[in-house]
Amino acid sequence: MKFFWFLIFLAVWEIIRISGNFSPLIFPSVKDVVASLVSSSIDGEIFFQLLFSLFIIFISLAAGTVAAFILVLGSHVSGILDSLLKSLVSFFHPLPGIAILPAVILWTGTGIESIFIIVIHSVLWPMVTNLHTGYSSIPENYSFFRKNYRMNHFQMFTGITLPYSLPYILAGLKISFARSWRALISAEMIFGAAGGKGGIGWYIFSKRVYMDTAGIYAGLLVIIVIGIVIEELFFTCIEQKTVRKWGMIS
C-alpha cells in the first residue's frame, strides 16, 4: 500500500519535472536522486554519516532508558523524589531538543557532548513518563504474589517489574526514538561536523551548501527509509515477538 503511494508520488514528481516549469535545481530527476544516492553509498559517505547518527541515537536511548528507570524507581521509594521528578517532567518534557541547543552550546561548547545532551534530553522525559505510567499500573495482585513468596527487590525488578513494563518501555522507546532522531538531525544541521563525523543531518546540509539538490533529496530519502525501518520494522518485530505475543497489547 505504502509502496503504491510512493510510486504515485514518484510519477507526479516526474510529471512536474518534465513540465519544465521548475529549474532542475529545484526538481532534480528521480534518476539524479538515485544516482546521487548510489554514488554516496559507493564511496561510503552516506553510510558513515548514517552509522554515526544511529550510533549516537542508540547510546542515548540506552542511557536515557537506564536513567529513566533509576529516576522512576527512586520516585517510588521517596515522596520528595517523586514530586521533584514530576516537576522536572512538566518543566522539560515540553521543550523540543533543538530549543535547548543555544543554552547547551554555552555550557559545553559545540562538541559531541552537546549533541549527546540534546539527544538524551529528547529521550529521557518521554521515557520517564511512560515508565512512570507503567510502574504505577502494576496490578495489586502482583504485590500480593511478591509478599507471598518473599521476593527481594532484585527478583521483583527483573522478574516482574521489567517484563511488566515492557509495553511501556517499547512505547517510550518509540516516542523517544522519533523525538531524538528529529532532534539529532536538526542539531547536526546546525552544528556541522561535531566529533569529526557529521551525521545524516550534516550530509543534507553539506549537499545544500554545495547546491547538490539531488543529494538533498537523497538524504531525505534515507531519513524516510531509516524511519520506516526502525519505527515500523524494528519496533513492530520486537512487539510481535514479545508484548503482542503475550497479549499485553492488541
Binding site: I8, N21, S23, L25, G109, G192, A194, F205, M211
Partner: protein, 313 residues
C-alpha cells in the same frame, strides 16, 4: 475506486501547482539580498538613503538580509529574489550547478582571515584533533580560503573539513570570545577587527596569504531572467553602487555617521574599520581566475568555467 479518487486528487494538486507558477508577474519591483558584515556597507547606505529609488522612478525596492549564500540561492530559485550579494566561491558553485545568474559588479576587497585565541597556535599545522574552526559554511569564501591555505601549508586541502563548525559571523565571534572548544574563527570585518582587539587573539593566516594575492571579497549577482527583462534597472543599480562607493571614499566621516547607526557601533570605531588597511570598496573584480582554478582542481566545481562567461556586461 479509492485509488481513482486519490489519483484524481493528486492530478488536481499537480495542475494547480503548474498554473500558479506560470502566473505572478512582478513588474517594476527589485528584490535585493545582502548578508551580515561591513563589506555590505555601500548597500546599507543605499538602503537607508533610498538612492536606488531616486534613480528608478516608479520602482519598488525591497531589501532582504539573509543568513548565508545557500539561502540567497534558494530564494532566487524560488523566484523571491533578483539580486544577491555574496563571496565569489558560492557564486561559482551556484553557476557550476546550473544557476542562471551572472556577476554584474564587485563590491569590495576586505581583510579577512583566521583568528585564534590559543597561545600555542601560530600556524595551521599547530591545530590539533580537538580544535574547532568556526566559519559560515562549507563552500563559503572563508572555507575555500581555509582549504587554499591548508593545501599550501599542510598539503591537504580538506585537512580541516571535519573540524569545521558552521556558524554565522556573530555566533562565531561569541563562541571564539568564550574561549571554549571553538579555537579559531575564519571571519571578516567588522568581526575580525573586534576579535583581534582582544588580548592574546591573533591572526593565523590572512585571506591574502591564503590566496597569494588580493581578491574581491563580495560581488553582486543578478538573475539572468531579470537582467534580460530589466537591463536598465541593473545599469541603474550599478551606477548607484558606483556613486555610493565614491561617497564613502571621499566623505568617510559622513558615511560613518550613517553607518554607525545601522551597525550600532561607535562612530570613531566604524570609521577606523572603514578605512582599515585592505578594506577597499571597488567594483573591479579580481582573483576570480584563481578561485576558478583552485576550485576546479579540488572538485568544488565540476565544469570548466570560463571567466568571460560569468560576468554580466
Amino acid at each position: 475506486m479509492k485509488y481513482r479518487t486519490a489519483a484524481a486528487f493528486l492530478l488536481l494538486i499537480l495542475i494547480t501547482s503548474l498554473l500558479s507558477c506560470a502566473s505572478e508577474e512582478k513588474d517594476k519591483k527589485i528584490i535585493i539580498a545582502e548578508q551580515y558584515g561591513l563589506a555590505y556597507a555601500p548597500l546599507q547606505i543605499m538602503r537607508v538613503e533610498k538612492s536606488l529609488e531616486k534613480k528608478l522612478h516608479g520602482w519598488t525596492v525591497e531589501w532582504k538580509k539573509l543568513a548565508n549564500t545557500a539561502a540567497i540561492r534558494e530564494a532566487m530559485l524560488s523566484d523571491n529574489l533578483d539580486i544577491g550579494f555574496m563571496g565569489l566561491p558560492p557564486f561559482l558553485i551556484g553557476y557550476d550547478r546550473g544557476m542562471e545568474w551572472k556577476m554584474f559588479t564587485g563590491l569590495c576587497r576586505a581583510p579577512i582571515g583566521l583568528v585564534t585565541w590559543k597561545e600555542n597556535i601560530r600556524k595551521l599545522s599547530d591545530f590539533t584533533e580537538n580544535d574547532r574552526i568556526a566559519l559560515p559554511q562549507p563552500g563559503s569564501i572563508q572555507h575555500i580560503l581555509l582549504t587554499m591555505a591548508s593545501e599550501k601549508e599542510i598539503g591537504n586541502p580538506s585537512f580541516f573539513d571535519n573540524r569545521i563548525v558552521t556558524m554565522s559571523h556573530p555566533d562565531g565571534m561569541n563562541a571564539l570570545l568564550s574561549r571554549k572548544d571553538i579555537t579559531a574563527h575564519f571571519t571578516s570585518p567588522p568581526f575580525i577587527m573586534k576579535e583581534l582587539k582582544q588580548p592574546g587573539f591573533r591572526l593565523v593566516v590572512s585571506g591574502e596569504e591564503a590566496m597569494g594575492g588580493n581578491f574581491t571579497f563580495i560581488g553582486g549577482t543578478v538573475k539572468n531572467s531579470f537582467a534580460e527583462k530589466h537591463p536598465d534597472a541593473v545599469a541603474a543599480l550599478y551606477s548607484v553602487i558606483k556613486d555610493t562607493i565614491h561617497f564613502i571614499s571621499t566623505k568617510p566621516e559622513e558615511a560613518s555617521d550613517i553607518l554607525s547607526e545601522i551597525y550600532r557601533m561607535d562612530r570613531e570605531e566604524l570609521e577606523n574599520y572603514l578605512t582599515w588597511d585592505g578594506m577597499v570598496f571597488t567594483q573591479d573584480i579580481s582573483g576570480m581566475d584563481r578561485f576558478i582554478l583552485f576550485m576546479k582542481n579540488n572538485s568544488y566545481l565540476k565544469n570548466d568555467i570560463r571567466e568571460e562567461d560569468i560576468y554580466y556586461r
